[in-house]
Symmetry: C2
Subunit: 592 residues, 2 copies
């Protein structure tokens, strides 16, 4: 049976020693003192690891079942979701005006990691509700907010996002679902949506679908898409539940993983819907939430990696096979634990150094979102919009890779479902695909974010790296171990960006062919920057004699591994990028 | 529904234009003319794609069931296996003395790829039989060979390999299964073996288990392990089946993939076994077959990559989303096929260039095995023993990665089981684990093979690369596009080997910590060498005006991609290796 311990100590380090959240000038951050955040993360962590986590394998094994139009979630899910609701965990970072606790998004993100690591499929019912809540909060009328939000904040009603159709995934302009205006101001929604996570289930009395559809007569393509609120059960003016709406689950999909979450085909047969935001501006409205939604998926990659890594650590400490080449470390036993072997260590260090770097990057991005939302800080908004495709793409790719490598440490036992390692890999796999497949993240980064506002956000990032290096280069040890590798990696990133600028002008394919490598190159620099910051914080604590020195020494050693062993990959990524479109596009489509 | 077309044209290119098999001085190779090999591969390919492949998803969905001690394979498996047997496909590269056709291992390997790509789980029943056949052929007495081999060649009886026990995987010295000598010269085998592929099933009337066990009183550890033939049903002197032996399936495992193959817990309760080879030399006997067995697993990685790649190509040609940035390529349609997008091309080119390079490497290794076995060529034996861990480790890692990336091109549809892309990834995953997990391959390479015979095989490989470059560097285009990158990559490999030699002497962990990276670095150089050879052959055909120029131009473009986009990774791998053990081993085991 796999286990999971919330990494609250590491989270506290990022919150208080790296980001120094409480000192930030963001409204609400003054409440983020070490005691408060520890109390929340530890209590939430206890709940997640005691209630959510034990149901993770149950959900995988049983999956969801569709019976006479009703979806049954796995054994125990309903009770656990009730407890989540009753404990107020769904309200944490929601608006106080609608029953939320008003905590910063940073805290929601930290708790989100813990819930996703405990039971990704179960947590998605809440996660999607939060996304729908944010869209209504941003674009709804006051009356819509009063009607829908309080029940969604509490998760008495859950939410969904309906974008994809069988022939329209990435290219939403091809969408066919239509919304016909009615005399009472509502719309009749007709069409089929697929891949609707949490589209139907037995965890809540109502489901609030946010549905993209076209109003007949509107502009072609993505400019004619509007967003609608389409509840499963209609809601009367007094807030009570009314008649069943004409929306039904057509099927649930057999998937590689996240079996505990129902992925539905949804049929809208003239269902009643309410316009959210302006006509024909639905895509923009839906994508206001994109940073938040994509960060949450990046967190899923990180979370599955953490859960898989923790179990791999435990297994490699217990599993006795072979002897350390440097002499027995368990001389009384029949063999040494496999953690003594350098190649096992390599895998664990890769996992640990990725996870902790990615966590710092994630928390920083969540802080930038708070800064943008709570202070209207446009620079923070621009910077986080640049970072989000990197976080989503890199953390889900590397998260899956980490889960696969953790599974590998179990040998044959990792391939057997009983041990749960296969599930971490299978569940992590979806995060590379949904909320914009990672290839799309790379395109968003290179085709849109890199050039946004004349390249200013990208330049701001480079300045930030340079500034941090300059500020700290007098510290010789930090400089040699952290700043020099960071400088070199950042130079590769800059060279790649320059290459795109120059050769992409001539032929855009030169930029597009290197987009994926650029995303990963950027990821290395961003995680490298985080490690340099964490190293600085760890050294400060050691210098000041604060806390447990072993924690900080471990932090430094983990960072050194990342800088020495992972950052050199930037050179190869740069070389790939600079080889341009020619090798990639040389073949005709028929030649494959 | 996924499909599969045997890549016979590409196989012919490697056989006849790169390896020039028919001209090789290996006994039996004179029969490998283009017509004969094409007839075999095409007929076998038709059978595999028409009979094996349609059952691939059936096997995944149904899995094997254990009912009252009997394992039921999925619907259709039994009939397909009968057809395999009746068509004589199991006898292809077996010894004519025992009913085989006596073809080279090279042909068995090519057909093996096709069968593994069509239905990996079903093909394993035959593959394991072939492994057991080879062990008995190499170590059995003449009487044993007469008794067991003919029925195994025909697959009337299938075979298994029993190594692992719950507490003894990589470290076989911990094994507990015991073999007590009986008065009649047989042994009583008692113990439990796990992860026994094809351990019990309904495809054959008998199963010949090869079982590692310890004879009481023998030496400790791996030096006290002997190998036994333990049939499911005892065989009378006249060859007829006798009484049921005391061996039973205890359970079958729920696995991530290869559901159609029964992975069994086998209980031996005083079963009758017959010593194969010498007492206490069982491990050596089992490992005589290691090159063949590990090559076969490397082929599985390649095969799943090929099958997944083919389906991805078809999907990306059909799926319409978005427009080429260079202008619509399907202006009449609602959108362009996604194959127009550079990031989709990148994935396809990575798949294609890996697959074709790996196939050439695989076939070369099979030729070396033939050269070793049919001519007693010790240099060929040493070289292939060096290459095998690279082939097994790299081709299964990259094979899985290719399957995962092919799945990615399907977007959300790739995560749905219906399309079959998840299965390719899940099936491919096991090849990284069994027959020696890939970390063990890396250790075998660096700890054993690299230093074998004073490093002579490694030096021979370097000389071969150097010789090929020297011989061809007057060809300017070949030189710039293929030989220069190969030279640079080979230099990285040499530097890494030198680093191991020098720093590994001081501290073996310096070598062990870089073993995995070395395996992949070696893989790049070996595949790079294959691409240089294929480029040379393609250019020769173009110069001579032989055959379809489009085929050879495609070959060159695919090779150029590998050299320009993949080979630069060797620099990063070298940097990782040269960072030594310190970053990897810095933490105490308790610090993770």
């Amino acid at each position: 049976m796999p286990s999971y311990t919330p990494p609250t100590r590491d989270m506290a380090f990022v919150l208080h020693e790296v980001l120094r959240a409480q000192e930030a000038d963001i409204p609400g951050y003054d409440a983020l003192d070490a005691e408060t955040t520890a109390a929340i993360l530890e209590e939430g962590g206890r709940f997640a690891s005691e209630v959510f986590q034990p149901l993770n394998q149950v959900g995988d094994r049983e999956g969801c079942r569709l019976e006479n139009g009703v979806v049954r979630t796995p054994t125990g899910f309903r009770d656990a979701f009730d407890q989540l609701r009753d404990g107020g965990w769904t309200t944490l970072d929601c608006d106080e005006d609608y029953g939320g606790q008003g905590m910063p998004h940073l805290m929601g993100t930290a708790m989100g990691e813990i819930f996703a690591a405990s039971n990704m499929a179960l947590n998605m019912y809440h996660g999607l509700t939060h996304g729908a809540y944010s869209a209504i909060r941003a674009h709804g009328t006051e009356a819509q907010k009063r009607k829908w939000l309080p029940k969604m904040v509490s998760c008495e009603w859950t939410g969904t996002m309906n974008l994809t159709e069988p022939h329209a995934g990435t290219d939403l302009g091809l969408m066919r679902t239509k919304a016909e205006p009615q005399e009472d101001g509502s719309y009749r929604i007709t069409g089929t949506k697929i891949f609707i996570s949490a589209g139907e289930h037995d965890l809540a009395e109502n489901i609030v679908h946010l549905v993209l559809a076209k109003i007949p007569g509107g502009p072609d393509g993505v400019k004619g898409i509007s967003l609608f609120i389409v509840p499963k059960v209609l809601v009367n003016d007094d807030g009570s539940l009314g008649a069943r709406n004409a929306v039904n689950v057509g099927n649930i999909e057999e998937k590689m993983g996240i079996h505990g979450n129902a992925t539905c085909v949804m049929n809208y047969d003239g269902a009643t819907g309410y316009l959210l935001g302006e006509e024909h501006k639905g895509l923009r409205a839906m994508f206001t939430m994109m940073n938040e939604a994509r960060l949450a998926v990046g967190v899923q990659g990180l979370a599955q990696a953490e859960a898989a890594y923790q179990n791999a650590v435990a297994y490699t400490r217990e599993r006795l096979q072979g002897r350390a080449v440097t002499g027995p470390e368990n001389p009384e036993g029949p063999a040494d634990p496999i953690i003594v072997h350098p190649d096992v260590r390599r895998v664990l260090m890769e996992g640990k150094s990725f996870i902790e770097g990615a966590r710092a990057l994630t928390f920083w991005a969540a802080e930038l979102i708070d800064r943008s939302e709570r202070m209207g800080d446009a620079e923070a908004e621009a910077l986080v919009s640049l970072l989000i495709p990197v976080i989503k793409g890199v953390q889900t790719d590397r998260g899956f890779e980490t889960a696969v490598q953790a599974q590998q440490l179990y040998g044959g036992h990792g391939y057997i479902e009983e041990h749960g390692m296969s599930q971490f890999a299978r569940d992590a796999r979806i995060a590379m695909i949904y909320e914009g497949a990672n290839g799309i993240q790379a395109l968003d980064l290179v085709g849109r974010k890199l050039a946004a506002d004349g390249g200013r956000p990208m330049m701001a990032f480079f300045e930030m790296v340079k500034g941090f290096i300059k500020e700290n280069e007098s510290d010789d040890a930090l400089n040699a171990e952290f700043l020099e590798p960071l400088k070199s990696a950042s130079k590769d990133l800059q060279a790649a960006a320059t290459y795109f600028l120059q050769s992409g002008m001539k032929a855009p394919n030169n930029a597009l062919a290197g987009a994926y490598d650029f995303m990963h190159l950027f990821g290395h620099v961003a995680i490298g920057l985080m490690w340099a910051k964490m190293a600085k914080a760890a050294r400060a604590a050691l210098d000041e004699g604060r806390g447990d020195p072993a924690f900080y020494e471990t932090k430094l050693a983990t960072g050194r591994f990342y800088m020495a062993r992972r950052l050199p990959e930037t050179g190869a990524l740069r070389a790939r990028i600079e080889s341009g479109a020619e090798p990639v596009m040389a073949l005709a489509a028929e030649a494959f």
